[in-house]
């Protein structure tokens, strides 16, 4: 509140418009004076009133030492004399020239504060708001009606030095002046335009970043987790939402109690990643809880040359079957969108994953981390078998590339090789290789990575 006066002084005049646009009007004595302008009969009394007001005003102005600035140091003491003068001198009479809008200076709206009035108008509490009965379209927004009001500005356009005109000019104290009709109309039009612009900006919808698709929270980033109590920061970690679900619990008192459950994954792109779920009544709180919980459950995932896994992994976690295949550089991530998000957080850039069976997000994430954590690196394989691990690439011809040597003893006897390898074949894969698979979704050109 800029001035020392109460928000809704009883003295203030108001103008009733459609939708109760303005609850308070400026304290301008201009209203009283406006009232006085039109009426011819009350002219004499108006003149007397004006003089008295002016005297009170000048006294008020004279009281303070030094020039008054328009903005600050409005002591309530300064204006009590003025308000007293207004209270005693001003008679509340409507202007004879009606500008087409109803103007009731003293009514129900002037008897209450802005907060009370808005509380009634918005109706945030009540039976309708409880238990999720409120409709999204019926939600009203509170608007500050005193925005743009300057004490001193009124419909008759008087220039009060110290209020809406400079107090001193070239060292001389200014007198009370009045704008011409055209100027006043211009000022009023400007004010109107400004108010409309504010309304428009408020109504403009803030563009929300799009995740996996519009209106879903999956794939959106929440930024890095909050710093820890001992000062540790997690600036290089990024969090991504995987799932947002409204879950309900039946309680004794309130019946269906809504709660938001969020599954979130964090990762720094260098192999450290983790996931967690957070539950709260409000979505924002649930995000925060999940984010800060996930940073405490990190897995380190070994990657081959920082872009893919070491070997093919196929596992079943509860009812979710995941089959991960190692791919060369440039292949990209051709997987389920949640797995793409998680792999980006881990730092895996090329992989093919097929998910069959249940696609429950939590089980999918848990199964993925389970499988990735239990990879066998080339060094571990070499140590286990006691043999060299040699890589053969098609693009390099017959060149053998030694990837890992056993740290312990090197075995002399070779690994037994059978003609028919003893591995379990996957029927879907066999169909695909034999060309028996008639699916429209295979070899579909998707967006890269």
């Amino acid at each position: 509140m800029r001035y020392g006066l109460r928000r809704g002084p009883r003295v203030s005049h108001l103008r009733l418009r459609a939708g109760a646009r303005r609850l308070t009007r400026s304290l301008a004595a201009g209203e009283g004076l406006d009232a006085a302008e039109g009426g011819g009969a009350a002219r004499a009394s108006a003149w007397r009133r004006r003089c008295a007001l002016r005297a009170a005003f000048l006294r008020c102005a004279g009281v303070s030492t030094g020039p008054l600035s328009l903005q600050g140091t409005r002591d309530s003491r300064c204006f009590t004399s003025l308000s007293h003068a207004l209270q005693t001198q001003c008679c509340i009479s409507p202007p004879t020239s009606r500008s087409g809008q109803q103007y009731t200076p003293y009514s129900f709206f002037t008897k209450l504060t802005a907060d009370e009035l808005w509380k009634g108008a918005l109706a945030e509490t009540g039976a309708g708001a409880r238990k999720g009965r409120g409709k999204r379209s019926k939600k009203k927004r509170r608007k500050d009606l005193n925005r743009g009001q300057v004490i001193g500005e009124g419909r008759s356009g008087f220039l009060w030095p110290g209020l809406n005109a400079p107090l001193m000019r070239n060292g001389a104290m200014q007198t009370i002046a009045q704008r011409s009709k055209e100027e006043q109309e211009q000022v009023a039009a400007d004010m109107l335009q400004q108010r409309e612009e504010w309304d428009r900006n408020r109504r403009m919808k803030v563009k929300r970043e799009r995740g996996w698709s519009g209106n879903t929270w999956g794939g959106l980033s929440l930024g890095p987790p909050d710093p820890g109590p001992n000062g540790e920061t997690y600036e290089d970690f990024d969090t991504r939402i995987l799932e947002v679900r409204n879950v309900f619990n039946m309680t004794a008192k309130d019946g269906r109690k809504r709660s938001v459950r969020v599954l979130v994954a964090v990762g720094n792109g260098q192999g450290a990643a983790g996931f967690a779920i957070g539950k709260a009544t409000e979505r924002v709180d649930a995000f925060r809880k999940a984010k800060n919980k996930a940073i405490h459950y990190l897995h380190y995932i070994e990657r081959y040359e920082d872009h893919t896994i070491f070997h093919d992994i196929s596992l079943r976690y509860k009812r979710t079957h995941i089959k991960m295949k190692k791919q060369p550089r440039g292949y990209g991530l051709r997987c389920h969108r949640a797995i793409i998000t998680i792999c980006r957080l881990i730092g895996i850039k090329d992989m093919y994953v097929k998910v069959s069976g249940s696609v429950n997000m939590l089980n999918l994430t848990r199964g993925l981390f389970h499988g990735l954590s239990r990879q066998e690196t080339h060094q571990q394989l070499a140590d286990k078998k006691g043999l060299h691990v040699v890589e053969f690439r098609e693009e390099c011809g017959p060149l053998p590339i030694l990837v890992a040597s056993p740290r312990g003893a090197l075995r002399k006897d070779p690994e037994p090789e059978e003609e028919v390898p003893d591995i379990r074949l996957d029927w879907e894969e066999v169909k695909a290789t034999q060309g028996m698979k008639r699916s429209i979704w295979s070899d579909l050109k998707r967006a890269s990575t």
């Binding site: 070997h311 295949k325 190692k326 060369p328 060299h388 890589e391 098609e394 390099c396 017959p398 070779p414």
Partner: protein, 361 residues
């Protein structure tokens, strides 16, 4: 008559040493069938002639031994040794559709076996493309038919597409609009053979990359190997463009000292041969000494002496019976253009060698 008979092989004497030997033999045996009619026609004269012919043959033989070709075993062994065998560079990942790699668990013996197989495959890849003389243009007119003049507006090319003829012996003739029937030129022959018997990697019209400005761009990007590979695929080894592109590439490499680009490729031998023939081995020598390849440097100088045995350095080396570093020093002192540079690099190398030795001990 004997003289008559001898004169025919006499004309062929200059073709080759083998021919000379055969000629010599025939010259001795030919007069015999004539003996019943006449007495032996001055066998002394024949013998003198024979001896002269054999001496001629011997001289040509020795001069030919002094002038080795690219395909000689000695020359090839030296060039192969100089080319080196860097497996990583030879089996560089090719630009192709990538597949995930396969892994094998091997013992040390299996690993060595695999490496040996890779080395053999590498040796096959390093087989040098042939270095031939430029082919003489064909200007053979078979028939002039003025009666056909003005009837056609385009040339007609007739190619023999029988399958079992070597391409070099194929008949390809062109009937001009003016009525002349002539043998097709070498460029026309190559084009027609590519049309009917397409070879992989070869295009009918030479690609634009062989234009001057495009070649310059390729050189600026250090892609001399790609240029040479394309050239080998596109042109015949004895065509003008092939030789021109190769020489241009070698000159550019020499100008910028980018010898290492061709090391462990199949073009290194050709480049070394070109430099030795042109007597411009200084840059290559300096590069080899700087990379601590002294054996290669000495073998290069040996090759130089093999090809130019009448030169000053060859003579001096034979006198001093120089070996190793001394050979290079002899060369640097006598025939090199940048002799000072070579000696300087040799000095720095020896100092580094000494310091490393002392550090080791």
């Amino acid at each position: 008559m004997a003289t008559l008979r001898i004169s025919v092989p006499f004309g062929r004497l200059l073709t080759g040493s083998r021919g000379a030997e055969r000629v010599c033999f025939r010259a001795r045996t030919q007069p015999q069938p004539d003996t019943p009619l006449q007495p032996l026609p001055q066998p002394s004269a024949v013998r003198l002639l024979c001896r002269w012919l054999s001496s001629e043959a011997a001289e040509s033989r020795s001069s030919e031994m002094k002038k080795p070709t690219f395909m000689d075993e000695e020359v090839q062994s030296i060039l192969i040794k100089m080319t080196g065998l860097n497996l990583e560079k030879i089996f560089k990942p090719a630009v192709q559709e990538l597949k995930p790699p396969t892994y094998k668990l091997m013992t040390q013996a299996q690993l060595e076996e695999a490496t040996r197989k890779a080395i053999e495959a590498a040796k096959v890849r390093l087989k040098m493309p042939p270095v031939l003389e430029e082919r003489t243009p064909i200007n053979d007119v078979l028939a002039e038919d003025k009666i056909l003049e003005g009837i056609e507006t385009a040339k007609y090319v007739f190619t023999d597409i029988s399958y079992n003829i070597p391409h070099r012996e194929r008949f390809i003739v062109v009937r001009e609009p003016s009525g002349t029937l002539r043998k097709a030129s070498w460029e026309e022959r190559d084009r027609m053979i590519q049309v009917y018997f397409p070879k992989e990697g070869r295009r009918i019209l030479p690609p634009l990359i062989f234009k001057e400005e495009n070649l310059k761009t390729m050189y600026s990007r250090d892609r001399h190997v790609d240029v040479l590979n394309l050239c080998v695929a596109q042109f015949e080894p004895d065509s003008t463009e092939y030789i021109k592109v190769h020489h241009q590439t070698y000159e550019d490499i020499d100008k910028h000292g980018k010898y290492d680009l061709l090391r462990s490729t199949r073009h290194f031998g050709g480049m070394a041969w070109y430099f030795v023939n042109k007597k411009k081995i200084d840059g290559l020598l300096i590069d080899q000494i700087q990379r601590d390849l002294l054996d290669d440097a000495t073998s290069l100088v040996q090759l130089y002496h093999m090809l130019h045995p009448d030169g000053q350095s060859a003579q001096e080396a034979k006198e001093q019976a120089a070996e190793g570093v001394n050979l290079i020093k002899v060369f640097a002192n006598t025939e090199a253009q940048k002799g000072a540079y070579i000696e300087l690099t040799l000095q720095t190398y020896q100092e580094a060698f000494m310091s490393s030795h002392s550090a080791a001990s």
